[in-house]
Amino acid sequence: MDNIYRPQKKIDYSSYLYILPAFIFYILFVLFPLGDTFITSFTEWNGISEKKWVGLEQYSKNLSNKKIISSIKHSFVLIIFYSFLPIIIGLLIAGIMIRVKIHGMATYRAILFLPQILSMIVVGISWRWIYAPKGPLNSGLDFIGLEEVSRAWLGSFDYALPSVGFIGTWVMFGFTMILFIAGVQKIPTELYDAAKVDGAGAIAEFFNVTLPSLKGEIIVALIFTVTLALRNFDLIYITTGGGPGTSTMIPSMFIYKKAFQMNQVGSASSLGIMLTLLIFTLVSLILFIFREKK
């Protein structure tokens, strides 16, 4: 009996059995397709024929394709809308909540979080209606006398990208808000009391106490939202399809079009790998910038 209390030197391999089912799924549906995509990215393949090995040709073709380069630029614009704006708005709301106690906050919080739980398809279709030439947004603008501002938002070469981006802001700020509110609640109240004693106003309190304490949450929010901005597909597909022209084209739309419309699975795979590397690099960069300094 006493061996129960003895510290075990051997690893209990039976515990790995518990993760085995999930691990098999992971191999089958994540690692295997990823490896397959990687191999396919060095080939020319129409989806059903024999794969033809072409080395790095697909990659060099992608890099010299102006439309692909401009689609990556669009993704960076979307990062502002999907990531930076929601984080700023989320921080602002969290900051206000510390100072002002609002009655029925739980309800407001639920309402503000709602966009986050809606399917992107539902969001896309709803906003397409809102942005329509005769939709509620333009009707509202006309009503308050801003006829000159109203336009076909998603059909405009200048406004389509920011219009789609704004939908992303609307979807993501609920997520950052909840994340930051949760973070704020674990900040010891002593810190705020100390700040008050030192004579800090609301703004000084926000920058000296709230913001530094939320560093962990901000990193999580950044990684999550930047990743989403870069790999986003459904919202663009539903609202503009990359148009008008190529003004809202993003890499993931190219991947879809190449793989399913143009029979260029090899090229689509190489673009997929490039997008993965780009996301990986950006996430590493975020972690590097915000690393703990000793």
Binding site: A132, G245, M262
Partner: protein
């Protein structure tokens, strides 16, 4: 446990027991009513045959059809799509069989004028299009024509144009009277292909356009006449004939607008006939687009081609079903479900609109003036042409930019 065993054995029995006489069909959902009608007639006429049908919407269908045909257990009969992207790939990979044997047996080639079936002809290696063996057939014609609001045209003091310049004048008069000249759902991109097809047809010889589509790499795109057509389209956009919001309006919304009385003209395909007819009654008419010097031209083709899988265990049965679709007896059924049959119908048209649509369609066939669809030309053409046309309509690119981008894509 017993119940489960019973259930499983029943399913197995049903699925394997009837295998020999089952015909599996995969179709694009636009043909759902057609296939439902044909399947029940065919089952009644051929006791013991069971027809299993599956339908997929356009995007899903086009994204998966090649994989489904490459499957080990593909449908016996399925739609493809004209061009190298789908049909060419299916033939190159040996996934579908030539239908010449059946065409001779059932007399399909005699139904149409010489050369009319060129869009279904391929070399056996799938690399040459427009000549060779018959890969695919369809009983349905789809033409891009001009629908118009009769009341509006009359109140503007206009009549059906017989030359393109008269059509332009009608647009100008409509615009000056504060009407939207053309209802266009440009947000979806592809509806502009139909507009371009009509303007191109007005200036470019249809034979030249078809030759380019079959062999884009080797046939010049940037001819003087085509540059003239592109300039005309850009001018039409600049003049505001498509309204200021057309790139923010989807195809369905544009058609709903037209039905609700917004827009004098609507340049679209005959597949909309049934919808316009039920929405507008006798207030809608149709004509084939007149060319600059008279005569007609326009986009259009047969509907999606039917293919028989090379792995089908019973290709003769599949061909027999196709023969039913292509038969003279089925023409009237096609009309009843609102499709325009490629063969002349035997029953009287059911509406005034149908009379005019059939007249327009016959005029196009008679003049051998159908120019297919621009996006058939290369696998990447759909993207290029929709994007570049949106730019032209939105004033973000000139006619020359459009011509240059298209000529470059032609070489891919």
């Amino acid at each position: 446990m017993k119940k489960i065993f019973l259930l499983i054995s029943t399913i197995l029995l049903v699925s394997f027991g009837s295998k020999g006489e089952t015909l599996r069909i995969l179709a694009e959902s636009g043909d759902e009513a057609t296939i439902a009608a044909a399947a029940s007639q065919f089952e009644a006429a051929n006791p013991g045959v069971i027809i299993e049908t599956n339908f997929l919407g356009w995007d899903d269908f086009m994204a998966t059809i090649k994989l489904k045909m490459a499957d080990n257990n593909p449908p016996d009969l399925a739609h493809g799509n004209q061009g190298f992207t789908v049909d060419g790939t299916l033939i190159q990979s040996g996934l579908v069989i030539p239908l010449d044997k059946y065409a001779d047996q059932y007399g399909w080639k005699k139904l149409f004028a010489r050369g009319a079936l060129a869009e279904f002809l391929w070399s056996d290696d799938g690399n040459t299009w427009g000549s060779g063996n018959l890969y695919g057939i369809s009983p349905v014609a789809e033409d891009v024509i001009v629908y118009y609001n009769k009341e509006k045209l009359k109140s503007l003091g206009l009549s059906v144009p017989s030359k393109f310049s008269e059509f332009e004048k009608a647009l100008r008069v409509s615009k000056d009277a504060g009407e939207l000249p053309i209802a266009l759902g440009g947000a979806d991109g592809w509806p502009i292909i139909h507009v371009w097809g009509l303007v191109e047809g007005a200036f470019v010889d249809p034979n030249q356009t078809r030759r380019w589509i079959f062999d884009a790499k080797n046939v010049k795109f940037d001819t003087p006449n085509r540059i003239k057509a592109a300039t005309k389209l850009a001018d039409m956009a600049k003049a505001g004939y498509f309204g200021s919001d057309s790139l923010g309006i989807g195809y369905d919304d544009a058609n709903a607008m037209f039905i609700d009385g917004e827009g004098v003209f609507n340049l679209t395909g005959t597949w909309m006939t049934a919808d316009f007819n039920s929405g507008m009654g006798d207030n809608v008419g149709a004509f084939a687009m007149p060319r600059w010097n008279g005569g007609v031209a326009g986009g259009g083709s047969f509907a999606l081609p039917w293919h028989i899988s090379s792995k089908s265990s019973n290709p003769d049965l599949a061909a027999k079903f196709l023969a039913h679709l292509m038969s003279n007896e089925f023409v009237d059924d096609l009309m009843r479900v609102g499709r325009v049959a490629a063969q002349a119908p035997t029953i009287a048209p059911t509406s005034n609109l149908q009379v005019e649509v059939i007249a327009a369609s016959n005029a196009l066939v008679g003049a051998n003036a159908k120019t297919f669809y621009t996006d058939w030309a290369t696998p990447g053409m759909y993207d290029t042409v929709t994007q570049e046309l949106q730019k032209v309509i939105g004033g973000a690119a000139s006619a020359q930019d459009f011509i240059d981008a298209m000529a470059a894509e032609s070489l891919n």
